[in-house]
Each structure stands twice: as structure tokens, then as C-alpha cells.
């Protein structure tokens, strides 16, 4: 039986504990600033969960909900500084490639670091670079397949980013809307209302599409995001386009075809004749050259510049060989030329945009759709534009700030026939999942973009007002890291890295793997994404043929394993 003194001591200890709280947890190993974009409540939820999981393996996470406008300048500065010095440590993001063929070579190659490129994370791994170069440059399908596999294998070894899951795109549409199956949801496949038919609406139907956030600029070369592509997409065309989401086949659009030399370097692209810009001016090879020249001109600050420069090599490598023909001599064969440069870059009109100064382009009506401007054509006529000027199926009719609506009229001179009955089209900015479903129920919209993550709300949608469609999204959600960070980036400030600088990168990889194993991916998919998705492993579309399903297995949620990796990096629990 315990002695009275022992009991008294225990009681005293209990009293002290009750008054002062339990003993303080061990001090955290390091601090990490996690920025969670505040435009998607679902992402804020798994962001909060991710922060809490990190704290369970000894990381002091300072999380903040911020608009993406706070994140973008921090990551674009290109200095790789950590968060307290004006850069960044870590943030959440949804990403996708701009082409059906996965193009990790546009995102993770060490040549593509900001401010000119999109490797915002500073991935700098020779093995990854080698596999990305092989993906870009080989013409042999088997070799490229092997390169994809090598990329994925190396990725799982070093895990530069934590891929959380592959979401499905879940869209609810007006049950009377037909032809939406032809629309796909990578921004390359913007909504295609020219294929829509609203049953019972006669020959002149009006349709509306909801897009979450207002766009930053509606000049195509400034962005590849949904908020912008949804809106400028129906206005412009590309040289090649994808026939449908089902067959994912690249077919000629403003081009009619191409020939390519045996070494894959010299391409002759034939252009479609008789295509008119909305102004009435004819589309020619000069417009193709103008588009590429403008993107490559550093003064315009296009975020596509680094990628296009890597493919084309420079402005001297392409020329107008006739009015309807462009000849390109690539520095080396690059699969991105067809799949991305020809298949994803919207053509811009030389006659309408050539006089717009770089410094004023973002604020011009062509970019904002506010107001009007006159476009002179070569035959001396004048066209009053209320937005961008393209060759696409829809002509901008301006932006109505009061309704937050972008209006379009059917292009009567479109070079391809409209197959639906929609003649007037709106894109409205609606924020919030509940709001967009209410708008659909009220008949104010006919469809919406996939940013709304309606998966968890599907059970509330009555088939009478909403038909639910799910598509493979070709996207992934990830936690991205600044790989120049001294702890989880370069590893020089980890215990192992300090002890043996040669093993610093290894230590950083251990920390990232520790975080990765602390993420309950399956529960995030099930509980937050409504079950619409798959746990993530590598930055490759889950349903792409290039995804190595045989080699890639789900990353286990295992806090014990996480702690073991932290210990390997030199941290003691």
C-alpha cells in the first residue's frame, strides 16, 4: 500500500499539473510556413489537416489562409528565399498539364526556374532532368515510355513535392443541356458552348457557365489557369486541338496538317485558308509568327516564355515560308512542340494586338473586356472590339461588372459549324459551391467549372434540376515545397546535413518522405472530396496511359514510419 507521503506527492503533482497544464511538449524540430489558398473551403480543410499532421511529427507549422495573389508573387520572385525573407516555404496547389500527353518537362526541369519558367519549386535533380530531357526529345515511343517510368521512379525516391490525391472533376449541369459530354475540363478544353443544345429552347438558346474567381488577364499568353481559360477559351483557336475528351486525339484546327523531317527537327505547318478573325481580317502565317514572337519577347512577361523558348530555341528558328505556311527548325526534337506549342497555345491576331505596348497590355480592353476599342483591318475597315479578338466560335460582347458576367455572341463566320442551338453565351463569376448549386437549381446557369468541388454535395442534387457528371480530371492536388529551403529543400540545416554536408539532400528527402507518410490520403479523398478521387503518388494524371500503375503503389499513412524518417534526418523524438 502506498505511503501517505507518496500519496501526498502524487496529489501535489496532480494539482500542479491541473493548474499549470500538462508538461510542455518537446520543442519542435523546425518551423514551416504553410500557405493555404483561401478560395476553396475543401482545400482549406485538408490544408488544416495537413498542418496538424505535420505538427504530429515535430514540425512547428505556421499556417495561414491567403488568397493566391499573396502566394504568386512570393513564389515568382525566383530567389528561392524562405518565407520569413519574403519567399515561401510551402503551399497547397492543384495542378495539371496543359496537354493530354503528360508534360512534366514543362514544370520540373531545372532549366525552367522562375521568373521565366514554371518550376516554382526549384526541383533540381540530375536524374529527373535526364528523364525529362528524354521525354522531350525522343521520337521513339518505347524510349519515351521508359523515360516516363524513370521520371516516376526517381520522383518516388526523392519526393520533391507531396502529391496528395488525384481529384475527379464532378460537374452538375442543367438536365436539358445536351452536348456537354463533349466538353472537357482541362483549360485546354474550355467549355465549348458551340456544341451545346438546350432542349426545348428553340433555335436561339441562351446558356450560362459559372467560373469561380475573376480572371487576372484575358490575354491567353498570360495564364493557363481555369479562371482565365474558361473565359478567353471560346474566343481563340489553336493550331491543333483535341477532338474529344473520350478519344483524346489531337487533330488539326487552324493548321490543316504538317510534315516533319526524319530527325524530327524541321516542321512545315500548313495553315487553314479562309479563316477570318472576328474583325474580318484573314488569319495567316504572320499571325502564328506574331504569337510566338510576342510570347518569346521578355518585355511582355509571359509565363509561357521559358517553356516555348525551350521548345523553339529562339525567334530565329521559325519563319513564314508562305502566306499559309510556317517552317520551324527546332534545336532538337521535342514532343512539346506538337502537344503543347501547337496544341495548347492560342493564336493571337497581329493586326489587332501588334500596337499594344507590353506595359499596357494587361490593362487593355483586350485583356479586361471593359469598354471598346477600334481594330483596323487591312482593307481599311474598322471593327469595334469589346474584348479579345480571335478566330474562335464566340465573339466577346464585353464584361458587365454589375452581373459579374462575360457575354458572348455566336461567331456567324466561324470556320467550323456550330452544332448546338446556343447563340448567346455568358460566363458568370460565382464563388462558393452552395451558391453555384443554388444558381443551377434556379436555372441561372447551365454548367460550371470543376473548381467547385461539388463531390461532397452530390447527394443534395435533385435529378430534376441537376445532372451529375464525373470525369477523369488529369489533375492532382499537392503540397509543394520550396526546395531551396535549408531544412526540407537542401537539407543543410538538418542535424544530418550539418553533421555531414554531403548527405544534406538525403536528409531533406527524408523529411519530405516523413511528411508524405503523415498524410492520410485515403481519408482526404473519402471524407473531403466525397470519394471522387484516388490517393496521389506522382505528378502524373492518374488515368493517363503514361501513369506507371504497375510500379506505383499508394503511399501508406503511417505516423510511425514518418517518425522513423525524421530520425533518419537526425531528429530525435
Amino acid at each position: 500500500m502506498p505511503k501517505r507521503r507518496t500519496l501526498m506527492q502524487a496529489a501535489a503533482a496532480a494539482a500542479v499539473t491541473a493548474a499549470a497544464g500538462p508538461a510542455r511538449a518537446a520543442p519542435p524540430f523546425f518551423k514551416l510556413y504553410l500557405m493555404i489558398p483561401n478560395n476553396q473551403p475543401a482545400r482549406m480543410i485538408w490544408g488544416t489537416l495537413a498542418a496538424q499532421q505535420m505538427s504530429r511529427i515535430g514540425i512547428d507549422v505556421v499556417s495561414s489562409f491567403v488568397p493566391f495573389t499573396v502566394i504568386a508573387p512570393r513564389r515568382s520572385r525566383g530567389e528561392g528565399k524562405p518565407h520569413p525573407d519574403g519567399g515561401w516555404d510551402c503551399y497547397l496547389e492543384r495542378y495539371y498539364y496543359n496537354a493530354i500527353k503528360p508534360t512534366p518537362n514543362t514544370l520540373f526541369h531545372s532549366r525552367l526556374m522562375p521568373p521565366g519558367g514554371e518550376n516554382y519549386y526549384y526541383v533540381n535533380d540530375p536524374q529527373i532532368d535526364a528523364s525529362l530531357d528524354a521525354i522531350s526529345n525522343t521520337r521513339d515511343d518505347a524510349e519515351r515510355g521508359a523515360a516516363y517510368k524513370a521520371f516516376q521512379k526517381r520522383w518516388t525516391e526523392v519526393e520533391p513535392l507531396t502529391i496528395l490525391f488525384y481529384p475527379q472533376d464532378v460537374i452538375a449541369v442543367n438536365p436539358k443541356l445536351k452536348g456537354f459530354d463533349a466538353t472537357t475540363f482541362n483549360p485546354v478544353f474550355f467549355p465549348q458552348p458551340e456544341k451545346w443544345t438546350i432542349e426545348g429552347a428553340g433555335r436561339n438558346a441562351t446558356a450560362a457557365f459559372a467560373s469561380w474567381a475573376p480572371p487576372a488577364s484575358l490575354i491567353p499568353m498570360y495564364t493557363t489557369g481555369y479562371n482565365e481559360s474558361n473565359i478567353f477559351g471560346p474566343v481563340y483557336n489553336r493550331l491543333y486541338e483535341y477532338e474529344s475528351w473520350e478519344n483524346k486525339k489531337l487533330i488539326p484546327s487552324l493548321a490543316t496538317g504538317h510534315t516533319v523531317s526524319n530527325d524530327g527537327r524541321t516542321w512545315v505547318i500548313s495553315l487553314r485558308q479562309g479563316v477570318k478573325w472576328h474583325s474580318g481580317e484573314e488569319f495567316t502565317a504572320a499571325d502564328v509568327k506574331f504569337t510566338w514572337d510576342t510570347i518569346l519577347n521578355a518585355a511582355y512577361g509571359s509565363q509561357l516564355r521559358a517553356g516555348l523558348l525551350a521548345v523553339l530555341g529562339g525567334t530565329e528558328n521559325y519563319k513564314v515560308s508562305s502566306k499559309y505556311e510556317v517552317t520551324v527548325t527546332l534545336p532538337a526534337y521535342n514532343m512539346l512542340f506538337l502537344d503543347w506549342a501547337l496544341g495548347a497555345l492560342a493564336m493571337m491576331p497581329e493586326h489587332a494586338y501588334k500596337d499594344l505596348r507590353p506595359e499596357s497590355l494587361r490593362g487593355h480592353t483586350a485583356s479586361t473586356w471593359l469598354g471598346t476599342y477600334a481594330v483596323k483591318t487591312s482593307d481599311g475597315k474598322s471593327f469595334t472590339a469589346r474584348g479579345g479578338v480571335g478566330t474562335g466560335p464566340w465573339i466577346p460582347q464585353g464584361y458587365d461588372p454589375a452581373r459579374k458576367a462575360y457575354k458572348y455572341a455566336r461567331n456567324p463566320n466561324y470556320w467550323k459549324p456550330h452544332t448546338g442551338n446556343v447563340t448567346t453565351f455568358y460566363i458568370v463569376n460565382i464563388q462558393g459551391t452552395d451558391s453555384v448549386l443554388s444558381a443551377l437549381k434556379a436555372g441561372e446557369i447551365d454548367a460550371h467549372d470543376p473548381m467547385y468541388d461539388i463531390g461532397p454535395q452530390v447527394s443534395t442534387i435533385d435529378p430534376a434540376w441537376g445532372k451529375v457528371q464525373a470525369f477523369d480530371s488529369f489533375k492532382w492536388q499537392h503540397i509543394c515545397y520550396n526546395l531551396k529551403h535549408p531544412v526540407f529543400g537542401t537539407g543543410v540545416d538538418t542535424p544530418l546535413g550539418r553533421q555531414d554536408p554531403a548527405r544534406a539532400a538525403e536528409a531533406a528527402a527524408y523529411i519530405r518522405r516523413a511528411i508524405s507518410h503523415a498524410m492520410p490520403r485515403e481519408q482526404i479523398v473519402k471524407e473531403i472530396a466525397g470519394g471522387y478521387g484516388e490517393p496521389g503518388v506522382v505528378p502524373m494524371p492518374w488515368s493517363a496511359p503514361e501513369y506507371d500503375h504497375d510500379a506505383l503503389k499508394p503511399i501508406a499513412y503511417d505516423l510511425g514510419l514518418s517518425r522513423q524518417y525524421m530520425e533518419k534526418a537526425g531528429y530525435e523524438f
Partner: protein, 303 residues
């Protein structure tokens, strides 16, 4: 000669309490406020779960309805709704009391000086108060919270717990003082001409004693009404800031609960309804209390 002194009449506070007790609305408000205070003091032992425990999500039990395990169910983030609602009470009270404490101190000092000194000083201070009244406080809060969040990165201030929340409290207080100042000015202006103040001046009482011992205590009843109303307003304001996603990610706030759960209103209504009821009860309590205090201390106003 022996005489019997008349009994000492009850003071202003005792009279007020007598009247307040007869006011049903006021008493209901007092009970509701007392309930919120009780919850705030006891939530640390009364809450069945840690407020940051998301284990329900890890075992696939988020958005579950009320059960024996989770009396008010679990929300979209896997939190126990009851625990989060209980832990939201101290946050709400800290915001309400903190903001109005700051507003009261500033308001009484500025209003008191304006009312007692008068003249040009009064004019200047009242125009200054009006300037503050036309500033769109809500937008200022959103902007400052965002800017402040960027500015403190890497500084010692970052280690201050709940800095975002404290910033919101400070801003609500810094922009909430003009109504208090106007009321204080009116009361000081009225009381400085009262007979008991003139008597005090005649017997040579110092100005500080007159202000602190004679005028301020008599002005307090009116000011308390405003403060009680202001507490409810401040709680609502913080709720709105959090509801817009600009709140303190680490603070447990009813507004934040609403923000994260309102999109699941149709799927898991308990996640939104519970914090909504908590906000309603708290704000109603303070408003009824203020109404009761008005009747108690300014009975002629009602007549």
C-alpha cells in the same frame, strides 16, 4: 437633542438593480450572458474532446450526425462540434470584452475631456470622433489583418499566440470608441453643471477628484449600456471576419466554424447550426442585457 436620521437612500447602482430585476428581458439577457461566461470558464474541462482533434476524419467519421459519442455530431473537418462550440465561447468573450475594453478607455478619455473642457477642445475631439465613425471599419480590418500577417513574418511578434485574433480585437477597439466618446461627452457635459459637482468645486475638491469620484461614477450607467451593446457587435464583427476566411487559423471561432461548414449545410446541418445558435444566444444575451440596463438606469427614457 437626539433626532433620528432618515434612512440613507439607496444609491444609483442599488436603484438600478431593483429596476433591472423587474425587467424580464434584461434578466433573460443576464442569464444568457452568465451561461456564456460559465461555458467559457469551464469549457477546458467540460468539452468531451480536444478542440483540435480531427481523429474522426481519420477513422472516416466526419460529418456524422449527433450520437452518444459526439452529442452534436462531427463537422466537415472531423472536429467534435460540441467541443468546438464550447471552446468558441472564450474566443467570443475575449473579442467582445477585449474590443470594448479598448473602446471604453479611449472613448471615456476623449469624450470626458471633450465634455468637461468644452470649447475648441470639444469641437476638435468630436470632429476627430466623427472622422473615425465614417471609416469603413470592416474593410480596414480585412486589409490590416492581411498586411499585418505579412509584416510580422520572421519577427518576434510572430511568436505571440493568436496574433491575428489580437489584431482583430485591437482594431475593433480602436475603431469602436466614437459612440462611447459621444456618450461620455454628453454625460460629462451634463454632470459638470450638476449641483453636487458645483458643491464639490465650492469646497475646493481637486479637478481630478471631481472627475474620478463624482462625474465618472455617475456617467457609468449610461456608458455600460453602450458597452454591453458593443460587446455583441464586436462578437458579430469577428464572426464576419472569420466567416470571410480572414480569421485566425489557430483560434477556435464560431465564425470560422460557420465558414468551414456552411457549404455542408444540407449534408451536415449540425456543423453550421450549432455555432449559429451559439452566436445568436450570445449576441441576444448582450443585447437584452443592454436593453435591461437602459431601462434600469434611464427609466425616464422608457417612459
Amino acid at each position: 437633542m437626539h433626532g433620528t436620521l432618515p434612512p440613507k437612500p439607496p444609491g444609483i447602482w442599488r436603484q438600478g438593480w431593483y429596476r433591472f430585476r423587474r425587467n424580464r428581458g434584461g434578466m433573460l439577457g443576464l442569464i444568457l450572458v452568465a451561461l456564456v461566461v460559465l461555458v467559457a470558464l469551464t469549457c477546458f474541462v467540460a468539452a468531451p474532446y480536444d478542440p483540435n482533434d480531427q481523429s474522426a476524419m481519420l477513422r472516416g467519421a466526419s460529418r456524422q450526425g449527433p450520437s452518444a459519442l459526439h452529442w452534436l455530431g462531427t463537422d466537415r473537418m472531423g472536429y467534435d462540434v460540441l467541443s468546438r462550440v464550447l471552446y468558441g465561447a472564450p474566443t467570443a468573450l475575449a473579442v467582445g470584452l477585449g474590443a470594448m475594453a479598448i473602446a471604453s478607455v479611449i472613448g471615456v478619455i476623449i469624450g470626458g475631456i471633450a465634455g468637461y473642457v468644452g470649447g475648441l477642445v470639444d469641437e476638435c475631439l468630436m470632429r476627430f470622433a466623427e472622422f473615425f465613425m465614417v471609416i469603413p471599419v470592416f474593410i480596414v480590418i480585412l486589409a490590416v489583418v492581411r498586411l499585418f500577417g505579412i509584416m510580422v513574418v520572421g519577427t518576434w511578434m510572430e511568436r505571440v499566440p493568436h496574433l491575428n485574433l489580437m489584431t482583430i480585437i485591437a482594431l475593433l477597439g480602436l475603431f469602436g470608441w466614437p459612440p462611447v466618446a459621444r456618450m461620455a461627452r454628453a454625460e460629462f457635459l451634463r454632470l459638470k453643471h450638476a449641483e453636487f459637482v458645483e458643491a464639490a468645486i465650492c469646497i475646493g475638491t481637486t479637478r481630478r477628484d471631481i472627475l474620478a469620484r463624482h462625474i465618472l461614477p455617475n456617467a457609468l450607467p449610461s456608458l455600460i449600456v453602450l458597452v454591453a451593446l458593443g460587446i455583441g457587435g464586436a462578437i458579430l464583427a469577428e464572426t464576419m471576419v472569420s466567416f470571410l476566411g480572414f480569421g485566425d487559423p489557430k483560434a477556435i471561432s464560431w465564425g470560422q466554424l460557420l465558414y468551414f461548414n456552411y457549404e455542408s449545410l444540407k449534408v451536415a446541418p449540425w456543423g453550421s447550426v450549432a455555432p449559429g445558435v451559439a452566436i445568436f444566444v450570445t449576441v441576444l444575451g448582450f443585447n437584452l442585457l443592454a436593453d435591461g440596463l437602459t431601462d434600469a438606469f434611464n427609466p425616464r427614457l422608457r417612459q
